[in-house]
């Protein structure tokens, strides 16, 4: 026999409250800034999580978001032209380095973005490309806010690598709890048990983190053939080197 429900009209109203425009406005403009002041979070660093394991060092993801200096259609056209004019250089560079599975330049709003999947260490990856397509990097980065400080990249290798790293998106882990571990690690907290956490705070922690890291890559990404390098794929498919 079903028990009579204890749900009242006020319960239904409160349950719907977070979906209302009023509450969303309150949350965005008052609650989030307030909690960001009371419980500040530091921005989390971008790029893949460091790992010595082989599978984690192939098909690594880079997600660069670079705001354009000229935030107009003309500025975006200049960025598109910088890529189009260097197509041969880009392809030659990618073929010669041989560690890139995919690379794309994308304009989103007033940003020029570069998304790539590569094998190996991040700093070596950027170093290899400075050596082979440094001129393309210079052409693109010249159009980006703050870019003049690190070009020509061939003469500012370390600074350029650091600059790119700062614009590589934080990769939110596949699991919500691993995201908590990232926050804790940034604060030097590596305790496992016993601890005194409050898992019900996870939504707030996520919201505040996404305030500190406004652009993020969600999850480790889907891979059809994880664990294989570009070189292995080419070898097994008989594509030559």
């Amino acid at each position: 026999m079903p028990m009579p429900s204890d749900e009242r009209a006020i319960d239904r109203w409160v349950d719907r409250l977070p979906e209302t425009r009023v509450f969303k406005f309150l949350a965005s403009w008052i609650l989030v800034p307030l909690w960001a002041r009371l419980t500040p979070v530091k921005p989390l660093p971008g790029g893949p999580h460091p790992s010595f394991q082989r599978g984690d060092n192939v098909q690594c993801m880079m997600n660069l978001i670079m705001p354009l200096k000229d935030k107009s259609p003309v500025g975006r056209a200049q960025a598109a032209l910088a890529i189009a004019q260097n197509k041969d250089a880009i392809f030659a560079g990618l073929n010669n380095v041989g560690t890139v599975h995919f690379a794309r330049f994308v304009i989103v709003g007033d940003n020029i973005c570069m998304f790539s999947v590569y094998d190996g260490d991040f700093t070596n990856y950027i170093r290899d490309f400075i050596a082979t397509i440094g001129s393309v990097f210079n052409a693109v980065v010249e159009l980006v806010e703050g870019g003049e400080a690190v070009i020509p990249c061939e003469n500012n290798v370390e600074a350029f690598i650091q600059w790119v790293h700062e614009r590589d998106l934080y990769q939110v882990p596949d699991t919500a709890t691993d995201f908590l571990r990232d926050q804790e690690a940034l604060n030097g907290d590596r305790a496992v048990s016993p601890v005194n956490d409050d898992l019900t705070l996870l939504p707030r922690k996520l919201v505040l983190q996404l305030r500190a890291n406004a652009n993020v890559s969600l999850g480790s990404g889907y891979r059809a053939y994880p664990g294989f390098s570009a070189a292995q794929v080419r070898e097994r498919l008989g594509l030559g080197w």
Binding site: P2, M3, S5, D6, E7, I10, D11, W13, V14, D15, L17, P18, F23, A27, L31, V32, W35, S51, F52, Q53, R54, G55, D56, V58, Q59, D174, T175, A176, T177, D178, L180, R181, A191, V192, S193, P194, V195, N196, D197, D198, L199, T200, L201, L202, P203, R204, V207, G219, S220, G221, Y222, R223, Y225, P226, G227, F228
Partner: protein, 347 residues
């Protein structure tokens, strides 16, 4: 190997936290349905594992889908872990079992953790949170506990959360249980065997692996706010299989050095190689009650009943399950089964 007294205590700890244990039935995953089917290995499976069912010949299968909760009340629409226990019937009369659930990671690392969890995560009265407290949660950017389901008066959720707050290794498993939901169909959920196993290839190479079943029809849950569904999964599966066969792919992820081989609370990264080991086709939900019992209720699955070529890892929970499942089988009068053709003590 966990000794018999510990295995018994494990089962008693589980039973002690049930509202009304049912004699003769499984203490948890009590509600379930037996299904018959067939497994055919992929053309690469035999290169990774010498086990008989991976050699490519079709292998008949008995499986049991289940709801995780204990007791005879069937609540398909409640957020709950689901089980998929599969027995591969091998040509020599033995079998290999693969027991999986919709929970990808476990919430304790070993038996001691489990006993502590059982002490903390007790059944407690579960009521709707007062609306004033919910508003306070929203103002603190917290999500309040879910509303109780119709007729739900007790839950272990609060105790499990207290345990998770004190032990970070448990947080992923407990968090996932909280979000798991109710599947639209048993055939539209992914099931994970959680533990690491070792598989031996024809060249003798041993690899640590984890298995998952992925539904060919895709994963789909019912909307969380829909509390009108309560008993639908059995009929849904019967009508689904009558229209067309339901299928699962068996995915095997290969671990690397440094991965957690003996810790079921830790996931492996998505960057690990995964192999499609074969396809399972569900062909029939037996309607005759005796056939249904034979297909599901009478079978005593065990996660350590493994064909040659597959071995259990040193995962302490997997070791504990070997004994706990046998204790549970004896308590409910389940059928023993020959572990190996030369097991003189088995029937």
């Amino acid at each position: 190997m966990v000794d018999a007294s510990v295995a018994k205590r494990l089962v008693e700890a589980i039973i002690g936290n049930l509202p009304a244990p049912v004699p003769g039935r499984r203490p948890v995953h009590t509600i379930g349905v037996g299904v018959k089917g067939e497994f055919v290995a992929s053309d690469v499976a035999r290169t990774y594992c010498i086990a008989e069912h991976f050699q490519g010949r079709p292998v008949p299968v008995s499986m049991r889908f289940s709801n995780g909760l204990g007791g005879l009340e069937q609540h398909d629409g409640w957020s709950d872990v689901r089980g998929m226990a599969v027995r591969f019937h091998l040509p020599d009369g033995t079998a290999s079992d693969l027991i999986a659930t919709t929970l990808g990671e476990f919430f304790v690392r070993n038996v001691d953790d489990f006993f502590e969890f059982a002490k903390v995560a007790k059944l407690e009265p579960y009521r709707r949170r007062h609306w004033l407290l919910k508003i306070a949660d929203f103002l603190r950017l917290k999500v309040p506990p879910r509303n109780p389901y119709p007729n739900e008066t007790e839950s272990v959720d609060a105790g499990a959360l207290r345990y998770a707050d004190g032990h970070r290794f448990s947080q992923l498993g407990i968090f996932q249980v909280g979000l798991i939901g109710a599947p639209e169909s048993y055939a539209r959920a992914s099931y994970h065997a959680v533990h690491t196993f070792w598989v031996t290839a024809p060249d003798g190479v041993r690899r640590p692996v984890r298995f998952s079943w992925q539904p060919v029809a895709g994963v789909r849950n019912i909307p969380p706010a829909d509390v009108s569904h309560d008993q639908y999964l059995f009929e849904e599966l019967k009508s689904r299989i009558k229209r067309w066969p339901a299928r699962f792919m068996l995915m095997m992820t290969i671990g690397e050095e440094g991965d957690a081989l003996d810790d079921p609370t830790k996931p492996w990264p998505g960057t690990r190689m995964r192999i499609a080991m074969g396809t399972l086709t569900l062909t029939e939900v037996p309607e005759d009650p005796e056939d249904q019992k034979a297909a599901g209720e009478r079978i005593s699955f065990n996660p350590c009943r493994l064909a040659p070529g597959i071995e259990a890892s040193n995962d302490p929970i997997l070791e504990a399950r070997l004994g706990a499942y046998e204790v549970s089988r004896e308590m409910r009068g389940g059928c023993p089964f020959r572990w190996r053709p030369d097991d003189a003590n088995a029937k």
